[in-house]
């Protein structure tokens, strides 16, 4: 079976763990519990006739003084970069995270999650623009969570 290592990367409290919990266990808890280090979850994805086991790395979020350890990124085939739409600075830092990740894994694929979209009203959403690699997402409302992972899996499987 094909196995792919992917990471969720972003600043702290953008909802990385919640996206994984929603995707893997279909659960959601809005209490914020900081992730430290890394925890791996597995999920089998079937794209057409291909089966792929995703090894999903839930890594601790970046803070102003602490970046994500490079060792966690080595050997990854893909990443979901997550920002919190209610915290502009977490969206702005996504491009920096992408640069670091692609520097280590030049051939890797990625997708961007503009998360916690449930917290914005319609006019606030209109102020945000998405490119082809971006999704609005909400672990709380289960919006586009599976789509994020499936889009990335398709990209990785070519």
């Amino acid at each position: 079976m094909i196995r792919k290592k992917i990471l969720l990367i972003g600043d702290f409290n953008v909802g990385k763990t919640s996206l994984i919990r929603r995707y893997v266990d279909n659960t959601f808890d809005d209490k914020y519990l900081t992730t430290i280090g890394v925890k791996i979850s597995k999920k089998l994805v079937e794209i057409k006739e291909d089966a792929c086991e995703l090894l999903i790395w839930d890594v601790e979020g970046a803070t102003a003084v602490k970046k994500i350890p490079i060792a966690y990124m080595k050997g990854a085939s893909g990443a979901i970069f997550v920002g919190d739409v209610t915290r502009k600075e977490t969206i702005e830092s996504i491009e920096n995270h992408i640069d670091i990740f692609l520097n280590i894994n030049p051939d890797a694929h990625y997708v961007k999650a503009y998360n916690k979209i449930d917290a914005l009203n319609a006019s606030q959403k209109e102020e945000l623009t998405l490119d082809e690699k971006s999704f609005f997402s909400s672990a709380k409302d289960d919006l586009n969570v599976a789509q994020l992972f499936e889009y990335l899996t398709k990209e990785m499987l070519g």
Partner: protein, 226 residues
């Protein structure tokens, strides 16, 4: 015997109590007593691919084989959560056919770090929330401590054509001079405004200024545009 000595030496040199020995095909050759606590459902382990227990190593194959070719090369992966434990992994050369995965149980330390990180992150979020609340006020607000401006809301910062509090701090503004040119400090301005309001002109704009003591060292000033 020599093999046991190598393993013991590696373990004792790093205050490590668990190990898994793997061959060049990354299959498990042996492991230490007690390692089961990290892996629920650990059965008939010998001969199985190490990835079954350490999916963390998938994708790291190029790194894993380096100890066979580079003297004293070690792969490290720290703060891995396994079954409610936090462990640090070091993969190093054991003999020409095998590698050792040394497992350091660092749960107590990392749980303490997690509590501190949680506290720090919660404070950062609270600070961001308060900043947002202050930024939505119509008044211009700034907070002083030890004669410098430590905090200001967006309207105040924009009055000086700046975008961040750091830029305001670099300016070393002496706004007390705008109230009374003889004043030498924000403390003097504070004393002058206790229980009353004053008028102040900044950049050609007129404000009513008032103050309140936040704590023994912080003074809050509020300026309302006239």
């Amino acid at each position: 015997m020599k093999n046991i000595q190598l393993i013991l030496s590696a373990i004792l040199s790093k205050d490590i109590f668990h190990y898994i020995q793997i061959d060049k095909a990354f299959n498990i050759v042996s492991y230490s007593y007690g390692v089961e606590k990290f892996f629920p459902n650990m059965q008939e382990v010998i001969g199985k691919e190490v990835y079954e227990y350490f999916p963390e190593l998938i994708g790291m194959e190029d790194e894993l084989i380096k100890p066979f070719f580079i003297d004293n090369y070690r792969c490290k992966l720290d703060r891995v959560q396994k079954n409610n434990y936090y462990i640090n992994l070091t993969i190093e050369y054991c003999d020409p056919q095998t590698l050792l995965i040394l497992i350091q149980d660092d749960t107590a330390t990392i749980q303490s770090q997690q509590e501190l990180l949680q506290y720090s992150n919660d404070l950062t979020l609270l600070n961001n929330t308060l900043q947002t609340v202050f930024d939505q006020q119509k008044d211009l607000i700034f907070l002083t401590n030890k004669e410098s401006i430590k905090f200001a809301n967006k309207k105040f910062i924009e009055l000086f054509d700046k975008t961040t509090i750091e830029e305001i701090q670099e300016e070393k503004l002496r706004l007390y001079k705008a109230y009374n040119s003889a004043f030498q400090s924000y403390d003097e301005l504070f004393e002058a405004l206790v229980d009353k309001t004053g008028r102040i002109t900044i950049n050609g704009e007129y404000f009513i200024i008032q103050t309140s003591l936040v704590d023994t060292s912080h003074k809050l000033f509020t300026m309302t545009e006239i």
